[in-house]
């Protein structure tokens, strides 16, 4: 739609016309602010916990578990150097053999969500798929935070 609009504006005499090709989806996926009726309601990106522990593929599970527990968490997100999400560790994986490297025990390729998804939509998905937590990422896969189902419920209660 925007290429047609940009082209038409040029023919209408606008001299300097640009097309933001990735559009609103890209803007919102980056967690940037918007205006409008939806802007006041919290979304996945607002509610996700940004302080979620992270770890690398080659770390030993025992080391990661100690770090995660010390921070009072029972989950961690496996990321690369660019914070791209590679996997997830929930309680079950964290309880496995301490000597194993993370890549052998993680849940690979978890479903991720963009920051602009509404909490209502998130709750439906998480309940339907029995997910206690889900990573929120930008459109290029970088971790924003971990969204906990209990935080979604609490935020929606607060909205009422």
């Amino acid at each position: 739609m925007s290429p047609r609009a940009a082209s038409r504006l040029e023919t209408l005499g606008f001299a300097e016309v640009y097309d933001y090709v990735d559009g609103k989806a890209d803007w919102m996926a980056a967690g940037l602010p918007t205006e409008g009726t939806n802007a006041q309601h919290p979304r996945a990106g607002d509610t996700a916990r940004r302080d979620v522990p992270t770890c690398r593929l080659t770390e030993k599970l025992g080391d990661v578990r100690s770090r995660v527990e010390a921070k009072g968490w029972n989950a961690a997100v496996v990321v690369d150097d660019e914070r791209v999400v590679l996997g997830l560790l929930r309680s079950k994986e964290l309880a496995m053999d301490a000597a194993q490297p993370i890549e052998n025990v993680m849940r690979p390729g978890p479903s991720t969500f963009r920051p602009y998804v509404s909490l209502h939509e998130m709750l439906h998905f998480m309940v339907d798929h029995k997910l206690e937590s889900s990573p929120v990422t930008t459109s290029d896969g970088r971790l924003v935070g971990l969204l906990l189902q209990k935080d979604v419920v609490a935020a929606m209660e607060k909205e009422k």
Binding site: M1, S2, P3, R4, A5, A6, S7, R8, L9, E10, L12, G13, F14, A15, E16, V17, Y18, D19, Y20, V21, D22, G23, K24, A25, D26, W27, M28, A30, L32, P33, T34, E35, G36, T37, N38, A39, Y116
Partner: protein
């Protein structure tokens, strides 16, 4: 031909005074639009553009994504 740009360039041009224009229909614009964006739906562009946009300043148009 209009130049295709990415997010960082959008922010830079807007800071320098470019006009941001959302061309999606009303419900989408009303729910969420980029800060300060002017609404010119594609179907009304012929009649509205000259009225609400400044021809002397750069214009950046956007919709939902690349489609």
């Amino acid at each position: 031909m209009p130049k295709q740009i990415r997010r960082e360039e959008v922010r830079k041009l807007v800071a320098d005074g470019a006009q941001l224009v959302e061309v999606l229909p009303s419900p989408e614009y009303e729910e969420d639009h980029l800060p300060g964006a002017i609404h010119v739906p594609l179907k009304k562009i012929d009649s509205l553009a000259g009225e609400v946009l400044d021809r002397t300043r750069p214009v950046i148009v956007y919709c939902w994504d690349t489609a």
